[in-house]
C-alpha cells in the first residue's frame, strides 16, 4: 500500500479482477485465484487471502476490474427495427448494458409496462432533417414507467422539444446520420459512464477504492480491450469468438467478421453479456435454460449422465453444467436459438475459453461439446481450433494494456 518500504518497481502493477465467484490477483510474476467468502466484504476477503501481495504495491499501481455488479438494464423506444432499434441495441450491448425490451413507437399503446426498475430508457428515431416523429403518447408511456435515467439520441428537432417535457432526459447527438449510418460515440460514452457509475456506486465495490487510486472498470470492457492483442499470447486465427463463462454471467466477445448485419462500426470485436448464464450464482437459470432446449437432453446422454445431475452438488455436476453452458451459449449465438445476434459459426476458425470454466474443464471436454454442437445444430463436422486460457492471460493482457493507458 502507499508508503510501504517494500514497494515494487515503477513498472510493476497489481491487477485484480473481482468476479461473482472468484477473485484473481495478478502481478508480473504470479497469478493467484481465490474462491470468494460471501460472508465477508470483498475488501476484507481480498486482504485476508492476498493481503501480503496487495501491501507490496502503491495505490497508484493497483488496477481493479469487476464483473460482479450484474450490469444495467435498458428499455429502447425507437421508430423501426432495421435502423433506430438495431443501432441502439448494438450500442447498448457493446457498452455492457442488458436490453430487457425494445419497442416500436407507433405501437407504443400495445406494449405492457415493465414492472421492474429500468436503469436507463433510450429513445431514438429519425434523421436530423425529419421531425415530429414522437408525440404525447411517449410522455404518457414514460409517466407510467419506473426508470432512473432517460437519454434521447434521435432527430435533433424532436430532442429539443422533448427536453422540456420528459423528466430527467439527457439529449445527445443523433445515432443515425444523414446517410442512415450509425454514429456510436456519444451514446456509447454515456452508457459506459453510467455502467461505470453503477460499479462505483455498489457498496461492496466502493470499499476497494481504499486500496487503489485508479478507476475500477468492468471486466468485459477490459477483456474486450485485449482482443486485438490476443495473438501475442495465443495462436488464434480470426475470425474467432471468446467465451468467458463465469459463476453468474457469460460474456461472448466475437469478431465482427462473423456477423451478417451490415452495421459499419469502428471496432473489430463486439461483445454481448448473457446476464443469467453461469454455473454458481446463475445455476438455477442455467438449468432452466437447459430444460427448455431439446438437444440438452441428448447432450446429457452423450456425456453419459441423466437429468438427475441437476440436483447434484459435486465436482462432476459442476463439470457437466460447464459443458452445458458452452452448448447453450453456442445455441444462443446460432440460428437455432437466436438471442440478439446470429453469428456465422461455420466461418469461425478459433474458439477461446476463459474465466472459471478453464479451471474445471480440459481441452478434450470442451472439444467434445463443441463437436456435439456442430454435429447436432449445424449438421457439420466443422472443427474450430479450441484454445483454453487457463492462466487468465487474456484478462491480464487487457488489464495491463489498460493500466498502461491510464
Amino acid at each position: 500500500m502507499s508508503g510501504s518500504s517494500e514497494t515494487n518497481s515503477a513498472n510493476d502493477k497489481l491487477l485484480i479482477d473481482i468476479g461473482s465467484t472468484y477473485f484473481k490477483v495478478s502481478t508480473s510474476g504470479s497469478i493467484e485465484q481465490h474462491f470468494r467468502d460471501f460472508n465477508k466484504r470483498i475488501l476484507d476477503d481480498l486482504l485476508h487471502k492476498s493481503g501480503e501481495t496487495v501491501q507490496r504495491f502503491n495505490a497508484k499501481d493497483i488496477h481493479i476490474c469487476s464483473s460482479a455488479n450484474g450490469g444495467l438494464s435498458t428499455l429502447i423506444i425507437g421508430l423501426t427495427q432495421s435502423y433506430s432499434l438495431k443501432y441502439a441495441t448494438n450500442i447498448a450491448y457493446n457498452s455492457g448494458i442488458n436490453v430487457i425490451d425494445s419497442l416500436i413507437f407507433q405501437n407504443i399503446e400495445d406494449y405492457s409496462i415493465p414492472s421492474d426498475l429500468i436503469d436507463v430508457v433510450i429513445i431514438v428515431g429519425g434523421i436530423d432533417s425529419n421531425s415530429g416523429l414522437f408525440d404525447d403518447r411517449l410522455n404518457q408511456y414514460l409517466a407510467k414507467l419506473n426508470y432512473s435515467n432517460a437519454v434521447y439520441v434521435g432527430n435533433a428537432q424532436d430532442g429539443a422539444k422533448m427536453a422540456s417535457t420528459v423528466k430527467r432526459l439527457v439529449v445527445l447527438p443523433n445515432i443515425i446520420d444523414d446517410r442512415l449510418h450509425i454514429v456510436e460515440k456519444h451514446l456509447k460514452d454515456y452508457l459506459t459512464n453510467l455502467y461505470q457509475q453503477d460499479i462505483e456506486g455498489k457498496e461492496d465495490i466502493k470499499h476497494l477504492y481504499e486500496i487503489t487510486d485508479n478507476q475500477i472498470f468492468s471486466t468485459p470492457f477490459v477483456v474486450n480491450k485485449s482482443l486485438p492483442l490476443i495473438n501475442a499470447s495465443f495462436s488464434v486465427t480470426d475470425p474467432f469468438i471468446l467465451l468467458d463463462i463465469g459463476g453468474a454471467t457469460t460474456d461472448v466477445h466475437y469478431s465482427k467478421d462473423l456477423v451478417t448485419d451490415n452495421i459499419v462500426t469502428e471496432q473489430g470485436h463486439d461483445r454481448i453479456v448473457f446476464k443469467k448464464l453461469g454455473v454458481y450464482k446463475s445455476r438455477q437459470s442455467l438449468i432452466f435454460t437447459a430444460e427448455q432446449n431439446e438437444y440438452a437432453y441428448e447432450l446429457l446422454m452423450h456425456l453419459k449422465v441423466t437429468e438427475n445431475i441437476y440436483e447434484e452438488h459435486s465436482d462432476k455436476a459442476t463439470k457437466i453444467l460447464m459443458q452445458l453452458a458452452i452448448f447453450l451459449v453456442l445455441c444462443k449465438m446460432s440460428h437455432y436459438r437466436p438471442a440478439y445476434v446470429t453469428l456465422k459459426l461455420l466461418a469461425m476458425n478459433s474458439i477461446v475459453f476463459t474465466g472459471g470454466i478453464t479451471k474445471v474443464l480440459n481441452t478434450e471436454d470442451v472439444e467434445d461439446v463443441v463437436a456435439f454442437f456442430y454435429r447436432k445444430i449445424l449438421n457439420s463436422d466443422h472443427k474450430p481450433r479450441t484454445v483454453l486460457d487457463t492462466n487468465y492471460d487474456i484478462w491480464t493482457l487487457g488489464a495491463k494494456d489498460h493500466a498502461i493507458c491510464q
Binding site: L79, T80, Q81, S82, Y83, S84, Q106, G125, G126, I127, S129, N130, S131, L133, I176, R179, L180
Partner: protein, 176 residues
Amino acid sequence: MRPKDLAVSHEDTIIWVSGSIGFDKIPSIFEGSPTMKVVTGVIGNDIHVVANRLMDLSLNARGYEVFNLGVNTHLEEFFDAAVETGADILLISSLNGEAEGWGREVKIHKAKYKSLDGLTMMIGGNLTVGSGNADDIVPRFKNYGFDLVCHQIDLNTGLDMLEAHLQEKLQEESQA
C-alpha cells in the same frame, strides 16, 4: 440541360441505364418547395449495383435528396428507411425477375406502418425472367401496390414519369 443518354449493353445495367451521364444539375419542377426525399435500392438477393449507382446520381442531379440503401435490400428495410428519413418516394430497382416474389408482399408489409400512406411507390428494371410483356407486368405490379411501374424503360423516361406523377399528386393535394 438534360444529361446525355448512355448506351450500355452490360447485363446488369441494361434497363435503367440508358440514363444519365454528365449529371449536370437540371432545373427541378419542384423549385421553391422543400426537397423531395427518395429512398432507393436494389430489392432482394440481387447485387446489380451499377444501375443503382447511376440512379443515385441521376436523382441527385434532378434535385432529390437520395437515401441509397444499395444492393441486397429487403422490403422491411425499404419501409423502415422511409419512416426514419420521412421519405416522399420509395424507388425500388430490380433485375431479372427478383422483384416478382418480393412484390407480392408489399401490401402486407406496408400495412404494418401507420405513417406511410402518402408514400409514392415506384419500381423499375427488368421485372420478369427473360423479356416479358409490359402489358401483363405493369398491371400486376400496380396490383401489388406500386403507383409507378417501369418495365424495361430507360432511366430518364422513368424519372420523367415520376416527376409527372408527383406534379399531378401536388395539384390534387392543393385542390383538396
